[in-house]
Each structure stands twice: as structure tokens, then as C-alpha cells.
Symmetry: C2
Subunit: 338 residues, 2 copies
């Protein structure tokens, strides 16, 4: 079985996107948003079958851990109430996809974070998504400001309540920023990758997993810059008098395979323990084109993973076993289906 | 000949560092700074001979392109006048090192940038360093705020006057941030690498080199995350309807080899054209320890480059030829010595 741990609903029906625009416009006009539109199963089916489901089948994968579009989370837009309502409708839409295609998709929650406010709303929405909608994880934005980075690092006690809830529910988080409103940072070309790198370094500096030994965090996009600079991070851990990365961070942190060329994937598997790597593609995401050098889609990461030269048992860890271990509720769901 | 393009004077005499503290304290107290201390040639010699020069010889390199300590530039501390004075004394100290060891060091300037002000002071100091002190390049900080990123991207016309002066003087800039005052960003573990990645993506988005076809920028630390995510950047250029990276950015951009493990260096040479790679170590910089996995220093990047498997002609490009091409004033200085 091949599980893609990193998929977003980037092709949601246009009426969903239009409602978001109306919601933001209403907020700016100090008005009430319109009611959320009726979206038919057919609309959802068409958006999924012609896109994510088609590609999943074409590429020979089985299932995607699916969450709302990351760039559209926009925690920096509006206020906490706007973020709560937007997160609810986005998560509900994911639930409808899962209900239509329960074998191919399982849900991960967008959290209604908002700059400068606490995480009560996020905790509440996470609980709703896991206990009522059957979701198996969440996306946690380390910079809800959208590129201004004026909140506390992930090791700060500000974040502890959401970690406690994650532990209680036994769900991991993917550390994933949203779009950037800082003109210095292109969203998918700088902000995403910087956030991955930043989060990892925060975890080296801190001692978060002493307080939360069962907390599991997935750092997407192949861990940002980290595997390429693995020597730097091993050396910095040493200079900061921290334990080795293997002992200190890599018991709780996982990287996905969203690295869009063979040499990058080869490096990832060369330097990072296989147990810390989850298959992911973020397909139909940041980079949707065909690589003229190979004739294949940049985000067809399964080709790269297949070409690393792993045994079938090793591939099974990366494609399935690690994901079932990191997302126990996914494992339970799959087992309950027999 | 082996030229290390990336060295900072991280071991400057303590009286230099103490003066900086006094300068900042005076600024904060609305007072005048004390006069800069007398530093003897012996003090400078000791700090260099026991550190950079010793290591340069031990590792078999010949020369370092040498600039003031990057983390101490601190453009975000004090105001423009503070930055001007600090830059002058730092650059003057580099000039003294170069005068003591002209065969082993050649200077690169710290610029007196300051958040929110123009670049007149930087232009003036660059001109002084190049025409009076014989420097061959400068370090350009893309985020003088020290981690808040509230200035314009490198493609903005704000920066054009310094680019014009660089072209006029025929010197390149290394794009190099300083320390971080944002608690989210560890300086050498996040801010440095993020800045490299960010700068490269800004250059993809913009069209800076259409306006400055002869501008040359070195992105340090192996190009940040860029080579590891080379597929992503090729794909993003395509999605943004920009020319290929080879045509658009890589005629003017160079990466150094400050990547502190063999797999990272191998990847760098695998995906980046050799003509765009300059040997660098940033030795006695961010990561000064010995790698327990190899018994060698993390920043002994010459070992990694030697092990890539290049021919002697190819090595000569990376160790010497590319640096002489990117820093024409270095080439001229070397030629004038015969």
C-alpha cells in the first residue's frame, strides 16, 4: 500500500473559493459573511476525480492524507473568528471528500490559528475534526502572521496546549506555513522552505521533546534545507551542547519526500534514517509542471523514491509503515476496514 | 592555487570587540563613543597566525577572500552613523590583516547598511574600500533589520545605486545576512540559510540581471536550500513564466561550497554547473567542531571538494579560475604580483 502523507485540496470547487473572498470582503466591510454555498457531491467528485484521484491512480499510489489548501489557510487574514469559520468550512469540505472516497483519502485538519491570540479555537477545531470527522492529524502553522515571524518559536510554552491536545488525541502535526504577505518571501519558493528549516533549528535549540516525548511533527518539503546541510545541523547541535540529532530531534521529527528531482531525493535517503521519511508528493501543489529534462511531472515523487534503490521491505516502510506509525488513527482506520 | 572565497575575521582582537560594545553603549546613552583602541601588529598577527593562517596552511589552501565577521555586522544595531563608524573600523582592520599577509588574504568590505535608510553610506564605504584599501568585493545584507525582513527585496530599485557602484568598480557582492534579533531564527542555523534561499527566489521572480547584466552575486552556504530543491526552483521558474534558471539567474549568481558534509557537496556538484561554484569554507565560522563521524572539521570543505571526483582542470576552476573571474580585482592583483 502506498500512502501519500502530503496532499492539499488545491482544486476545491470555485464556489468554495468565492465564499472565502466574500467572507474576507465582509470582514473588511464590518459586515456579516454570506451563508456558505451549497456544493453538490457531483462538483466535489468532478474536482477530485479529474485531479487528485486520477493522478493518484496514474502514479500507482493508493491513498492521500488530505488537508485543506495550505496557501489558502491565510491565518494572517481577518481575525480569529474569520479563521475559525474558514477552517470549519474547509475541514468540512475535506470530510466530504473523505466520505465520497474513503479508500483514497483521509483527513487532516486546518487549524483556526490567528496572530497574537491563543490556541483555544485551534484545540477545539482539532478535537472536532478528530473525534467527529475522523481526521488523523493537523497542519500547524509556525508563523500565522504570514511571513512576519512575530510570534513565538515552536518551543515556546505558547504552543503547549495544542501539543497536549495532539498527545491526548494521538495525532501528529505537519509544520506547514500558509501564503506570505511579506514581499521578501515568495510563498512556495521561500516561505515554505524557510519555515521548514526554521522549525527544525528551533527544535535543535530547544528541548521540546523532553516535555512531549510522544509528540510527532512532520516537516514537509523534504525538511527544507536541513538534509542538504545535515553536517551543519549536526555541528550546530554539538556547538549548542545538545545531544546528537538522532537522540534529540529525530525521535519525534519526520521529513516527507516533497523534493522535486532525483538528486535531492537521493540525498534525503542518503543522510536521513529511513524511519524518519514519509512518502509525500504535495501533488497538484506548488510545482505542477512537467520537467523538460525528464518528461515527468516535477511532483511525481514516487518515481524518484522508486529509483533510490531500496528493497521492497524498505520501500514498504517509506510508503506505508512509517505513515501508519506516525498517524496511529490512520493505522486504526485501515485495520478496522480489514 | 586554492582560493577560499568565504572567510570572516571571527578572531579579531578583543579590544576591537570591546570597542564595539562601548560604541553601542554610547549610542544607547546618547553619548559619544570612545576613540578606537590602538591595536598592535603583534595582536593581529597572533590572532591570524594561530587561527585562519594556520588552518589555511594545514588544509593546503593558499588564500582567503576575507571580510569582517558577518554576525557582528549587526546592521540593525544603532543607527546609520553607528553602522558607518563600525564598518570603517572593521574594514580598516581587514586592511591591516591584508597588509601583514598580502599573499594569504585579500579584503572584502562590510557595508554600513542600516534599516530604513538609503545606501549612500554603503556606496561611499564601498568606494573607499575598493579604491583606497584595495578590496575586491563586498558583503551585501538582504535584511539589515536582523530577521524582521521589513525592507524591500533585492530586486527592488532601492538597491540599484549599490549595484551601479558595484558595476562601476567591477566588484561582486556576497549576499550575507548578519545576526538575528528575531527569536524565531537562529542566526547560523536558520537566518543565514533562509536568507540564501530567499535571495535566490527573489532573483527568480524578478528580472534584475536584465538591468544589470554584469552584476555578480555570490549566494553563500552552498546556495541555502536551493541545490537540494533544484527541481522545485526549475519548476517554479517555469510556472512564473521566467526563462530557465540557466538563462535567467545562473549567468550572474554563484554558490560557495560552505556545505559541511560530503553528501551535500556531492549534490551541489551534481546539480549546479561547475562554473557557478566557488570554493569556500567560512572556516572558523558557524560550525567549528570536529565531525565525530569523520574525525575531520565540519568546515574543512576542501576535503569534500577533493573527494567529489573532479579532474585537476575541473578542480582548478572551482579552486581558482571561477574566483578570478567573479572577482576581477583579485585576478588583477594576483597578475600584478606575477
Amino acid at each position: 500500500m502506498i500512502i501519500d502523507c502530503h496532499g492539499h485540496y488545491t482544486t476545491a470547487p470555485e464556489s468554495h473559493n468565492l465564499w472565502r473572498k466574500a467572507q474576507v470582503a465582509a470582514y473588511e466591510a464590518h459586515d456579516s459573511p454570506p451563508s456558505y454555498p451549497a456544493i453538490s457531491d457531483d462538483e466535489i467528485a468532478e474536482s477530485i476525480e479529474s485531479n487528485q484521484l486520477r493522478i493518484l491512480c496514474e502514479r500507482g499510489a493508493d491513498m492521500t492524507i488530505f488537508s485543506p489548501r495550505a496557501s489558502a489557510m491565510e491565518h494572517h487574514v481577518g481575525d480569529e473568528a474569520v479563521s475559525r469559520e474558514w477552517s470549519r468550512v474547509c475541514n468540512n469540505l475535506i470530510k466530504r471528500v473523505v466520505d465520497l472516497y474513503p479508500d483514497a483519502f483521509i483527513g487532516v485538519a486546518q487549524l483556526p490559528q490567528s496572530p497574537g491570540v491563543g490556541l483555544d479555537g485551534s484545540i477545539e477545531e482539532l478535537e472536532r475534526c478528530v473525534t467527529e470527522l475522523g481526521f488523523v492529524g493537523c497542519n500547524l502553522n509556525p508563523d500565522p502572521s504570514g511571513g512576519w515571524w512575530n510570534g513565538p518559536p515552536l518551543t515556546d510554552r505558547y504552543w503547549y496546549p495544542i501539543y497536549e491536545k495532539m498527545i491526548e488525541l494521538d495525532v501528529p502535526a505537519m509544520v506547514h506555513v500558509s501564503s506570505s504577505c511579506n514581499p521578501n518571501f515568495h510563498a512556495t519558493g521561500a516561505h515554505y522552505i524557510n519555515a521548514d528549516t526554521t522549525a527544525f533549528m528551533q527544535l535543535i535549540q530547544g528541548d521540546l521533546f523532553a516535555d512531549f516525548p510522544n509528540l510527532r511533527l512532520i516537516i514537509p518539503h523534504g525538511g527544507g534545507a536541513v538534509p542538504y546541510h545535515w553536517g551543519r545541523y549536526r555541528g550546530l547541535a554539538d556547538m549548542l551542547d545538545q545531544p546528537t540529532l538522532a537522540e534529540h530531534v529525530m525521535r519525534n521529527v519526520y521529513f516527507d519526500t516533497c523534493v522535486y528531482h532525483q538528486p535531492g531525493i537521493d540525498l534525503l535517503f542518503n543522510v536521513i534514517d529511513r524511519k524518519n521519511i514519509l512518502f509525500g508528493s504535495e501533488m497538484l501543489g506548488a510545482v505542477r509542471g512537467v520537467d523538460p529534462e525528464t518528461g515527468n511531472h516535477f511532483d511525481d515523487t514516487k518515481r524518484f523514491v522508486d529509483a533510490v534503490g531500496l528493497t521492497s521491505d524498505q520501500l514498504a516502510e517509506v510508503y506505508e509503515g512509517n505513515a501508519r506509525r506516525v498517524y496511529p488513527r490512520l493505522d486504526a482506520a485501515l485495520k478496522s476496514r480489514g
